[in-house]
């Protein structure tokens, strides 16, 4: 191709090797854990597609869901009777800081917020992830199978987030969700203006925030133009100079190219509207609004523009932008056609009970005129979350062909008493509430609470001599009662 181009266009000019940006320099090494074909039968199945199947069966083969329905009958699968149990897709949290703000919460571990400049688009959360954060295990026991790790919200542009499979691994790459798009964390409102305002650096106001975004997108637009021109000139057989690489602008260009999704910390209705316009101004999609406490005020706008909104049921009051909370927020956003309502955690404890978070919304909304069912509400923490992260082709619902990410609950997961009993990722059991073999333990916790004393340690050490007379014949074992 190259030589053809050369001959055809500029026979006298030799092209340098083409400069190409490696968009995946830290590739996933995730591999599914060992699994066997499994048929789970007689459960109440919430598929994540809005459907509920009573006395349902689900077949997991080679890491995929192959059938969901009633009275399935297959050979060559381990059949497990799940009578009385409920089955849902694996739970997905779109907003987590596990690994970057791990437990224990000590200064050495504070790796989630590069608070050194209003625009740190060049940082990637994946480079801060500590895979041994014990909270990953706790989240798995709560049914979390995938989660997006985001940088914090001090900056207008906080950096890239990464989507992980919630499997134990020694490396971030071993957890990385292969093929999941990167997310770019942006932050509206009070945080950036407070952090930089106190340093007498732009932004110190909301208008400063927006000026900061616009300057950055202007630069990104020019950067993209330079690269596009380089690519087209090169394709035309010329030998152009490649633009100078800029890590921050690489990320923003990824958004302009539609490869990186925006995840925007943005609480207030009017600010979400501004951010939507900002996306339109610079020709990118404004993605998912996180902590959208005032989402209910602009539910129509969000749906019309194709934005997901990730929300808590009831966090509120800790700052002005969190003041207008309603517990039905998620339900109101969800009620609009083409909406994408998500329940998220932003918390190492709440992530362990996202089912309860969804339940709070469902019951409060139903008390106030909605008619939501479990099969509706489960979508907020499964299918809609997968859509927000751009992984809904693979996970988020129990349908033939999807990855077999499955949670078996001991009862209706919308009960406060519900417990995840078994969790499968890609058809492999990764957690079993009743089997220690499937309960991972972080290296950090390993050996933290050893027993100090042993009995008979020396007897074991000297097993042989115990059966022989002691060296000194005068010494006899004491008579035991």
């Amino acid at each position: 191709m190259l030589s053809l181009g050369l001959t055809a266009c500029l026979p006298n000019e030799k092209q340098d090797a083409k400069v190409v940006i490696n968009k995946n320099p830290y590739p996933s090494t995730y591999q599914a854990l060992p699994s066997e074909s499994t048929l789970l039968t007689n459960a109440t199945i919430l598929t994540g597609t809005g459907e509920r199947i009573n006395n349902g069966d689900i077949l997991l083969v080679n890491g995929k869901v192959t059938q969901v329905g009633n009275n399935l009958s297959v050979e060559q699968a381990t059949v497990i009777d799940m009578k009385g149990k409920w089955i849902t897709p694996g739970i997905i949290d779109v907003h987590s800081h596990l690994g970057v703000y791990p437990n224990p919460e000590v200064e050495s571990h504070s790796d989630g917020n590069e608070m050194t400049s209003p625009n740190t688009s060049e940082v990637w959360a994946e480079h801060s992830v500590w895979p041994q954060d014990p909270a990953f295990q706790a989240a798995r026991a709560g049914g979390i199978t995938s989660l997006q790790i985001l940088p914090g919200s001090a900056n207008l542009f906080g950096g890239r987030g990464v989507t992980l499979r919630n499997v134990p691994s020694e490396t971030m790459q071993g957890m990385k969700f292969s093929g999941a798009p990167y997310g770019l964390k942006m932050a509206c409102g009070e945080n950036p203006k407070r952090v930089y305002g106190s340093r007498k650096v732009l932004p110190s106001t909301r208008m400063g925030n927006v000026a900061g975004y616009r300057s950055a997108w202007l630069a990104a637009t020019e950067y993209k133009r330079d690269w596009d021109k380089y690519d087209s000139d090169y394709s035309a057989g010329k030998n152009p100079d490649a633009p100078k690489r800029d890590l921050a602008l690489d990320t923003l260009m990824g958004v302009l190219d539609g490869e990186i999704l925006i995840h925007n910390h943005c609480y207030k209705a009017e600010e979400m509207a501004v951010m939507i316009d900002l996306g339109n101004e610079f020709n990118y999609h404004s993605g998912t609004f996180h902590h959208a406490i005032e989402g209910y005020k602009v539910a129509d706008l969000l749906a019309a523009n194709g934005n997901c909104a990730a929300m808590w049921p009831d966090w509120w009051g800790f700052k002005m932008e969190a003041y207008d909370m309603v517990e039905e927020n998620v339900a109101i956003v969800d009620a609009v056609k083409n909406s994408c309502a998500v329940v998220h955690s932003d918390s190492a404890t709440t992530i362990q009970r996202l089912n309860q978070e969804a339940a709070k919304v469902m019951y409060r909304a139903n008390e106030n005129g909605f008619a939501l069912k479990e099969e509706d509400a489960i979508k907020w923490i499964t299918a809609n979350a997968a859509k927000s992260l751009g992984i809904n082709d693979e996970v988020g619902s129990l349908e033939a062909g999807k990855n077999a990410d499955v949670v078996v609950w001991n009862m209706n997961p919308f009960s406060v008493y519900a417990q995840a009993e078994q969790v499968f990722i890609d058809g492999a059991k990764v957690y079993d509430r009743f089997d220690d073999k499937y309960q991972a333990k972080s290296d950090f916790l390993l050996g933290q609470q050893l027993d100090n004393h042993v009995s008979k340690v020396v007897t074991q050490l000297e097993k042989k001599s115990a059966t022989n007379p002691a060296t000194h014949p005068a010494i006899k074992p004491a008579n035991k009662k």
Binding site: L33, P34, P104, V106, E107, S108, Q137, V167, P168, S169, E170, G174, D436, K437, Y438, Q439, A440, K441, S442, D443, L446, G447, Q448, Q449, L450, D451, N452, H453, V454, S455, K456, V457, V458, T459, Q460, L461, E462, S465, A466, N468, A470, T471, H472, A474, I475, K476, P477, A478, N479, K480
Partner: protein
């Protein structure tokens, strides 16, 4: 060490699955037979000896031919001529006060307001992961020495055993620590003056109180309202010689100044650090002062420490100074105390002298009922696979107060996790 060849050829391996009990101490009687016992006591080194333990104490130490006709024990251990020593006593560390140095929440070793009354033993954590690891070096107890505030007197040391139990603190507030020498700000003279003045004031106050005691009843009543402060009470303990004073000092001039203070105020002085003590070893020996020092510091780390040398322990002991070998500062590797003792031996110290420097000398200096294998002493014992100071040697068994201790640490759990065969992620291996 005649049996070294035989001992190393035998493989004594602690089995993976150890039976584990609760932390309730069982009053088990033990007979350790056929041991090479370094008593660090009058009996010296005994071969094919037997040590009897009951109720946490050593009840008998028998040489080869001294065992009575009839004896019994709940557990009999054939030591197979391996070496049994008293448990080593670490000094000069922050064990149980600091878990991770760079994590401020886990540091309880100092306080800007610390003064002579600072009792860091209240912060001691017997569940620290450093403790189980330290046991792997044959350490059964430790003199923990916090560093304090801005005062010249920085607080008090305390003694713990390494059982990991909640009652590990054996002696709280057992010695007063002062820190002398070079000062980043100001002059070292101020510290010496302050110390001297405080002792002098306390002495005067004591004399005054004595006077009142001897005076008429009415005056006595008037004076009774003046009860001594907490710090005065501690100073009085120092002046009576009841409580040791551990003084960090390196430069010879500071050491000499301390020896003068000892003489003037009748202090029970122990020198710590003491890099340049070799310059005044005769004076130290004459004053009968114990020196607590590193056996491996040999770099001129400061202008106060120009005489650091691997031969310092040998030089001091040759001069008649009683030395305590301590590894310095941090607590992460106090298990390596035995190697430091080995380095001292390699540089001219007799093995038995080095052993005393990590056992009996510490016990004697701080009134601990351990550090020797003798009747009535705490059964803090270590059975070694071979020469305790040698790197190839490991601890085969340990008892603290007669209770067999686990020799497993968090590090063992981690290593084991990563070397076993598994097709599951390592996190499932426990």
């Amino acid at each position: 060490m005649k049996n070294t060849q035989l001992l190393t050829s035998l493989r004594y391996v602690l089995l993976g699955a150890l039976t584990v009990t609760t932390s309730v101490v069982q009053a088990e009687s033990i007979a350790i037979t056929n041991a090479t016992v370094y008593t660090v006591a009058k009996k010296g080194v005994l071969f094919q000896a037997t040590v009897m333990v009951d109720e946490g104490k050593i009840t008998a130490v028998y040489g080869k031919d001294e065992v009575p006709e009839s004896l019994s024990a709940d557990t009999i251990i054939d030591a197979k001529e391996r070496i049994l020593t008293p448990g080593f006593i670490a000094t000069h560390n922050l064990l149980g006060l600091v878990e991770v140095g760079a994590v401020s929440d886990t540091r309880d070793s100092s306080d800007k307001d610390a003064d002579i009354t600072f009792d860091a033993s209240l912060a001691f954590n017997p569940k620290s992961t450093l403790i189980a690891y330290a046991r792997k070096g044959g350490i059964t107890s430790s003199l923990v020495m916090p560093y304090g505030g801005e005062d010249v007197i920085t607080g008090q040391s305390f003694v713990v055993n390494l059982s990991g139990d909640f009652d590990s603190v054996i002696m709280p507030q057992n010695a007063v620590i002062v820190s002398l020498g070079a000062s980043g700000k100001g002059s070292r003279a101020t510290k010496l003056q302050t110390l001297s003045n405080e002792l002098e004031d306390a002495q005067k106050a004591l004399a005054k109180a004595e006077k009142v005691k001897a005076s008429s009843k009415k005056e006595k009543e008037e004076k009774e309202a003046e009860t001594p402060s907490r710090s005065e009470l501690v100073l009085n303990e120092l002046l009576s010689g009841d409580k040791p004073l551990i003084a960090y000092a390196d430069r010879a001039t500071d050491i000499l100044a301390l020896l003068k203070l000892k003489q003037k105020f009748n202090l029970n002085l122990i020198l710590a650090g003491a890099s340049d003590a070799v310059l005044v070893s005769d004076e130290i020996a004459k004053a009968n002062v114990v020196v607590m020092m590193s056996a491996i510091d040999n770099l001129p780390s400061s202008f106060d420490s120009l005489h650091n040398s691997l031969t310092n322990v040998a030089k001091l002991t040759d001069a008649g100074v009683k030395v305590i070998i301590s590894n310095s500062g941090e607590s992460y590797n106090i298990n390596q105390l035995r190697f430091d003792a080995g380095v001292a031996v390699a540089n001219g110290v007799a093995a038995t002298t080095a052993l005393a420097a990590v056992t009996a000398n510490v016990a004697d200096s701080f009134n601990l009922n351990s550090g020797r294998i003798a009747v009535g002493k705490n059964a803090d014992l270590v059975l070694w696979s071979s020469d305790p100071f040698e790197i190839s040697t490991k601890v085969d068994a340990m008892w603290i107060n007669g209770q067999a201790m686990s020799l497993k640490s968090r590090q063992d759990a981690l290593r084991q996790r990563y070397i076993v065969e598994t097709d599951m992620p390592r996190a499932y291996t426990k």
